[in-house]
Symmetry: C2
């Protein structure tokens, strides 16, 4: 089963990459664009049971893929 994990910096955390992109867009004449930049992780996990896969993926994400102090994540299931 294919699962997408979107990891974004928390709203209260300064997102330096996002700010840099906003500033370049501003210089290019694109006004009022808000940008946050994080990670996208695509996992292919064996198993078809959504609940089992979800539990497995949450464990992986918590152990390895995100820092709860500064980031939040969201899962997305394909197929």
């Amino acid at each position: 089963m294919k699962v997408g994990v979107k990891v974004l910096p928390r709203k209260e955390i300064l997102d330096t990459q996002g700010r840099a992109v906003e500033s370049v867009l501003h210089q290019q004449g694109q006004e009022g664009v808000n940008c946050r930049i994080g990670k996208y992780i695509e996992l292919e996990v064996p198993g078809q049971n959504k609940e089992e896969v979800s539990a497995q993926v949450k464990k992986m994400v918590n152990n390895l893929l995100y820092n709860p102090l500064i980031e939040t994540y969201e899962l997305e299931f394909y197929e």
Copy 2:
């Protein structure tokens, strides 16, 4: 309008981050997991017309946010 941009390394490109994660998962006893790691960009663009916003965002992504030689991207519209 809120738009998500998922940027992933092309399949034929060596994804070193993804391989590192796969290797750690393997060491932790999680077998057969396939992992690719890219960027997730959340943009808030003024305007509500999906076609206009889509054209604008594509321009930004092409100019600034992804490298077509080694990456592919996908848009996602919210609201």
